[in-house]
Amino acid sequence: MSRLSDPSRTLGPNNLNRTGRRANMKARIRSRLKILTLCVGAAVVQLAAAAAQADTGVGVDTVLGNALNPGTGNTMRDRDPAGLSGQPQTRRTPTGQLYELPYLPVTPKATESGWTYSGSVEAGVLGGDANEKNATFRMYKDLDNGLYLNNFEVEAEKADEARFVEAVGGGVGRNDQYFGVEFGRYNDWKVEAFYNETPHVFTSTYRSLWSGLGTDNLTLNALTPGGTTSAAVTGPNIVNALAATENSELSLVRKKGGVRYDTNLSDAWKFFGSYSNEKREGARPFAAVFGGGGGGGNVEIPESIDYNTHDLLAGLRYSDSLTSLNLQVAASLFRNNIDTMTFDNPLFITTNTIAGVPATTFTQGRYDLYPDNDYYNAKGEYARALPDFYSGRFTAVASLSRLRQNDNLIPPSMYPLTGGTINGVSTADNWNTTAALSKSSADAEINIRLLDLGLALNPTDALNVKGKVRYYETKNSTEYWACNPLTGQWGRLLNDGSGGNFPIPNATAGNNPVGTLNTAYNAAGCNLAATQALGLVPSAGNGGIRNIPFDYKQFNYTLGADYRVSTASSLNATFEREEYEREYRERDKTWEDKLKLGYTNRGIEDGTVRASYERTNRRGSEYHPDPYDPFFSTSLGPLPTATGTNVASWIHIMDSFRKFDLADRDQNILNARFNYMVATDLDVGVALQYKDARYPDSAYGRNDRQKQNSLSLDLNYQPSAEVAVYGFYSYQASRMHQTGLQANACVIGTTYNFLSNGAVQTTALTAAQIAAGITIVSTTTVTAADFLAVCGAASDTSPLYPTSRTWDVTSEDRNDTLGMGLRYDFGKAKLDLNYTYSTSRTQISYGYNAAALGLTAAQEALIGSGMPDLEFKQQILDASLLVPISKAAATRLFYRYEKGTIRDWHYDGVAQNPVPATNAVYLDAGPQDYKASVVGLFLQVAF
């Protein structure tokens, strides 16, 4: 049966007889030659499917590429002037945006076996500043001078069997290299495999004092562990060592490979399964402190990274005309090949809490790095059309997840601490053993449940209504008590033994019976009830004694409607209530009502507008500033009452402080987007977002107004296959405000004088103050009966939180981004230019009362009215000139110019002053300005 008589048959080569196929083959060959001739110098890199692993529904690794090949393939190929339709006019998306003119397709080569193939490779040499070491330049890319295999791709197909193979790769041998291969049978099955490396350079100005970066043991190169003689002597030694240390890089590389199999089990059923393994190695900025509360000394150290993550995923998908079903199971196993990291300590430590142990003891510190963890998930998604019930649709999603971690815990210290005591109890061999712990392994677990039900109905052709209920819950069953069974001591030995936080019976006379020993709690042997039964007031209220197993429940109730006003316009409205129930947070419950109105009109002449407005109001149950008593030492005994007791630690925070994730919040969000077809070859777009949030009940914390406003303009000009121009500009301005209060003191029986200049003191006015005209405007005496109220509230007369000690910070961002590009085909050469210019500035200004905070005039002169601006400017120009040298080869001259300037006050002065105080050592001078011109000469060969 010939094709003409049975046009319902597909036009594959199998439908022709042998003579016909041979004739067609010759015709195709002639056609190919013609196309190749026409495509002189065309970069014939076919856009092979860069075989990443994920789809839009599950998984990461959705793109393979790097900075020189950002997932776009070769954009310098010839475009087809006839477009898609043979008409010179370029077609537009339903919104009105121009489709790009398609590339001229490549005609593959044929083999005798029936396979056809095509491919290309681009390789050459990079020079200029490709070996620039600046961290911002190299943040996520790896360039270097020398030979460079930029990209390659191969496609092959055996049409009579519907089989295909594709392979891509680029950046070969570099830390941002990528490879992918995909093979299978169209509409049947396929296998995808990939390997992708992603570098991340954190800093290139780190002066490392250690060897062994990336391992579990960092050893000092030229300094004595534990310091020398004293901190005053050790500091200059460190400075001298740093002066002789070159800058180095802290970075890591993610190396990830995986394989995925997809198959159509039938027309309705599909199966997929995948495995990936990611290895991360390197080092990133880290730090360490000694002593307790930061008093002993701090030094920046590198964190060694050696991670493996195994991810498994499998799923079934079913779909027919009425029903869709997705079932999937996933497992993710994270393994840290460096459980603990030991580092030589360059500081001379002054300890606190622990007595009798010399400072030189602490020659090393030890971190318990991120523990191994396992994640498991099972999920089902179901959708059912209800054609006979208002043309409705029902959806249901259920998901169960488990996060589990059960690493062996390490002892609080690696030192025997011989000769030491903590509150009169010997430390010798009592803290360098896991017997000092209440449990030997973490046994940490969080279970997550999700149930999502939705129903959508169409009562009329123009109206759709939908409702949804969503329930999401996390349940944390982790439990750990900080009490040493060997000694009965509640609390924690800090920072390898150089500090401690141990609640003991309060020693201020009058709180506890005369003769109460420091060790009185110890006799209870870590039995909380027995300890509480002693009825002894603890020494402080803020000693942590138990972990806090945060978890929450989230409920979302949504009701929405969509009304089609006309063929091209519609209105929609959605009301959603989101409720949170949280364990162990300041608010048991918060609820947020969200009303959103939207409008879409695609029928405006030559334009499309989309706009929405959303108003949200979040409120909640009563705010308790301190819900944490059960987890802290305040729960060990009654409140203090004795005069002279410093009770500040029983007050967690002032009662008018609001944590922003729980605080009352009113928010308005306006989004609008307008696309307009200016001409047949030109379209423009404008988009804006106005976001304004207020925290009406937050006197302290993030408060006042938080704004973020954005405006974007873009244009796209495609007059012909030879020329295309694009441009965009984006503006964003944001503002965030917060108020804080520097705490003062709160001692029972003490009278606090509040002065007219805002200062608070417990003494009478000095002669100087009197001479300056300062007066006492009020006084407050703290009593046992009222200290929680008087000191817990921020007020003009609060001894602990006097409002005169309030400070506030306003942070304002401004960002501008400009981009443009030009593609021009001269006929004998092609030019491709892309340029972006980004500039950002963050201004941090503050207000404060210098007198209240005890600041001198000299200090005020340095403090000023704000921090220096954070600034970042970056220009990137990419230019390529493609010159054909034969039908299958072309040269590409490549030029990339990057310039970056950055100012970050966090790093001001670190390079010159790395040890600005005794026992404070900073080794990372931070991001630096850079300028780089990279040139490349590549040869593109097609086959």
């Binding site: 998306t93 339903p94 873009d714």
Partner: protein, 326 residues
């Protein structure tokens, strides 16, 4: 041009008549076609790819290299797929008889004007379920986006996904310019560098979450790449456990580590205890530079700020790690 179009149409009609005749004699009952002279109220019928190519050969030049063409021509699994052109554009008999009537064929461009719902329904007849199970009622669907607002199945503009632009991210940027600018900030996800795309975190076809996340919560989106922060830890940090974007801006930030605000100010938006330093006023005389001219340095200002001491800020597994210092 007019004569050429007319010839094209004549050839198409002849091909359609031939197809109808052949079907009447040899074709399956499911494909039975009404004769050309059937009343206008009769539904359109399939005319076959050959008829389409009489006029639309330029389109076929590009379409023939796409995945749809491979599937339809080389290994179709059902009658719909075997129609090739008409699998997407619908039965073409009426279009052949009256090519300028936009009601007689489904097209996916603005110029033709086929209603969005009809366009999307046509795509979803094969592509519903799976990754697109949540498309109906999703944010993009509610904004009346057509599948062809993001996809162009008629040509290979992108490496995968038959997108209208060369990459996933460029396709998203045509509407989401704000996010494109955010990826240009000082700290950002490696999207411009080709190592991530928008689809690593979002499912543009719909999801159970409002921001079209690819997982059940923000944190479960972040954990696949940041598995070390998954924990759970012995000592947890509340805002971390609940939502990564309490502290981080997912696309880009002017601050280090994609933080939403500068340290220590960010930390002070939650921490102002009665004892110790978190509630203190930190200021410009505490930098390392200021220390050279009379200031007094503070580890809470310089470099990593609060993380100079509280390094394990995402959670600690050290038995003494309640303050995240080990």
């Amino acid at each position: 041009m007019r004569i050429q179009n007319s010839l094209c149409i004549i050839r198409a009609r002849l091909a359609a008549v031939a197809a109808v005749t052949a079907l009447a004699l040899f074709g399956s009952p499911a494909m039975a076609a009404a004769p050309e002279s059937a009343p206008e109220s009769a539904p359109a019928t399939y005319v076959g790819e050959k008829a389409c190519l009489q006029c639309h050969e330029p389109a076929n030049k590009h379409f023939g290299h796409t995945l749809h063409a491979k599937v339809f021509r080389l290994n179709p699994k059902n009658d719909t797929e075997r129609q090739v052109c008409e699998a997407c554009h619908g039965p073409g008999s009426k279009h052949v008889s009256k090519v300028d009537d936009k009601n007689f064929i489904i097209s996916f461009t603005r110029e033709w004007g086929t209603p969005i719902e009809k366009q999307n329904t046509q795509c979803l007849q094969c592509h519903k379920g799976g990754q697109r199970l949540h498309w109906p009622g999703s944010t993009h669907a509610s904004n009346k986006l057509g599948c062809s607002d993001c996809h162009n199945p008629m040509a290979n503009a992108s490496a995968k996904g038959l997108l209208k632009k060369a990459s996933i991210s460029e396709t998203c940027y045509t509407c989401h310019q704000q996010q494109r600018a955010e990826f240009k900030k000082r700290s950002h996800m490696p999207v411009p560098e080709g190592k991530m795309s928008c689809e690593d975190c979002h499912n543009p076809h719909g999801s159970t979450t409002k921001p079209l996340l690819k997982a059940d919560s923000v944190n479960e989106v972040c954990y696949p790449c940041h598995a070390e922060k998954r924990g759970p830890f012995l000592w947890e940090h509340a805002p971390v456990r609940e939502n990564c974007i309490n502290c981080h801006s997912p696309h880009g930030s002017n601050h280090d580590k994609l933080l939403v605000s500068s340290r220590p100010q960010l930390c002070q938006q939650c921490h102002s205890p009665s004892v110790g330093h978190p509630g203190q006023f930190f200021r410009n005389d505490q930098t390392a530079a200021s220390a050279l001219i009379g200031g007094a340095q503070s580890a809470r200002v310089i470099g990593r700020s609060c993380q100079n001491c509280h390094t394990q800020i995402h959670g600690s597994n050290h038995p003494s790690g309640a303050r995240f210092q080990r």
